[in-house]
């Protein structure tokens, strides 16, 4: 049912759309008003305009590679359907199209008309990015036969993870491409914002595990994550890399603005996001209504 292609797709699409969403919200806000803190943040986040569509495009390659007949996938766009997969496919293509067009239009003539067109495209791309961030978690949570994922917390966790990994990518991109002194004020603001995202993710994750622990058969997945076969992946990858290291380095860097340890935290957040996708897909159990027993989900 699901496999590594799906885990990587969920990770890359979430991270790419998350990075673009943050970048576009900052950029669009700056067109309305320009407080110093927002301008500082933009020095870190502006890379998302390029990184977002590129990363989602890479994720799309993984999604196509997972299909039995990728060459037939274009049929999705010619079949009237309101299935989440159809809506998600349209959103991905529309997001990549609008974001790339916005970049092209922005790089052309600097006229008021072109500026308005670029803004309109960017607003559309931001809306589609939000849909890309949300729909994959909603899709996974839509199947009652997979009880561990069939709840409202899973889309919330995926959304927060997309924003956190997206911010991680932006921080690393800013570190690599910009002078440290230039981005230092923006880094501090981004780290505070990301700290809130990671904290919310930790709360949602704890709530999911607690709920799953108290429900059967969801408890099978919760136990596999907390104390079972996936405990290493969960505690080291999802909790350690995805929550503890980013929060610790963010706290450190907020007190010491010139420290570069946030790059380690950003890298850990990205690794944690990948571990989260793997952990959820590996822990989920699918059940058959005929036998009541577990049937294949991973593999």
């Amino acid at each position: 049912m699901v496999n590594s292609f799906i885990a990587w797709y969920l990770f890359l699409a979430g991270m790419g759309a998350g990075a673009f969403f943050i970048s576009a919200v900052v950029d669009l806000s700056l067109r309305r008003w320009s407080p110093a803190w927002l301008e500082a943040a933009a020095t870190v986040t502006d890379g998302g305009m390029y990184l977002g569509p590129a990363t989602v495009g890479l994720g799309l390659v993984f999604l196509l590679a997972d299909l039995g007949y990728p060459e037939r996938s274009f049929q999705v766009f010619f079949t009237p359907s309101t299935s989440l997969l159809t809506l998600g496919s349209w959103a991905i293509v529309a997001f990549i199209g609008c974001s790339v067009l916005a970049l092209l239009v922005g790089g052309l003539l600097e006229t008021p008309l072109m500026r308005r067109l670029e803004t309109a495209l960017q607003v559309l791309a931001t809306l589609f990015a939000a849909f890309v961030i949300l729909y994959s978690g909603v899709y996974l949570s839509a199947f009652p036969s997979v009880p561990f994922l069939n709840n409202a917390l899973v889309p919330v966790i995926f959304m927060l993870s997309a924003l956190s990994t997206g911010m991680g990518m932006l921080l690393i991109f800013g570190f690599v491409t910009r002078d440290g002194e230039d981005v230092a004020p923006g880094v501090s603001i981004c780290l505070r914002a990301d700290g809130i995202t990671v904290a919310l993710k930790a709360i949602a994750l704890a709530a999911l595990l607690l709920w799953a622990h108290m429900s059967y058969p969801e408890s099978l997945s919760a136990e596999a994550l907390a104390i079972g076969r996936l405990a290493g992946l969960f505690w080291c990858g999802v909790v350690g890399a995805g929550i503890v290291v980013p929060v610790a380095t963010e706290l450190w860097c907020v007190r010491r603005p010139h420290s570069l340890s946030y790059v380690v935290g950003a890298g850990a957040a990205i690794a944690g996001g990948l571990c989260l996708r793997y952990a959820f897909l590996l822990a989920a159990v699918r059940f058959s209504a005929v036998t009541g027993g577990a049937v294949t989900f991973w593999g």
Partner: protein, 184 residues
Amino acid sequence: MAVQYGFFVDGTRCVKCFSCEVACQQWHGLKAGTWLRRTVFETVEGKFPSVTRRFTSLSCMHCEDPACVAVCPVGALSKRDEDGLVVVDSARCIGCRSCALGCPFDVPRYREDKTMDKCDGCLSLGRAPGEEPRCVLTCPTRALHFGPLSEMESLASAKGGARMEGETAPSVFVAHRLKPISES
């Protein structure tokens, strides 16, 4: 939709001979050891000597509200107007496995060519309206029945059976002995 067709699985007559499974495999050219369109499930209840073994031959439920059709992004799955059977167009299937995730009964299977496969009521074999699928024709104990759902309901009621439960409204009725043979 004109009339919803479905199955009645009379577990009081089934002897777990697997004729239905074999007939399905043979007629549809399914290789041994790959996948099945129809499976005989067995449940055992009680303790010796009061043991109840139940055999239930099931395939696609041809649900009235099929989850697989709803989630297919390319319309490869459809519900026929003529008889309500759920059929798959392999030439359209992209192999995304959404139908398998959506089906609560774990029915869809994936062929070597990575497209979905499931029971089509033997329509692909040219079964004419009024004819019965191969599994039904082959069953030596007449434990399998196929026809309009109202007729299946009548047959099931006579045996104390009931419709299979599920939000998708499966078009399958099942009857079983309520007690072990030694006690009935």
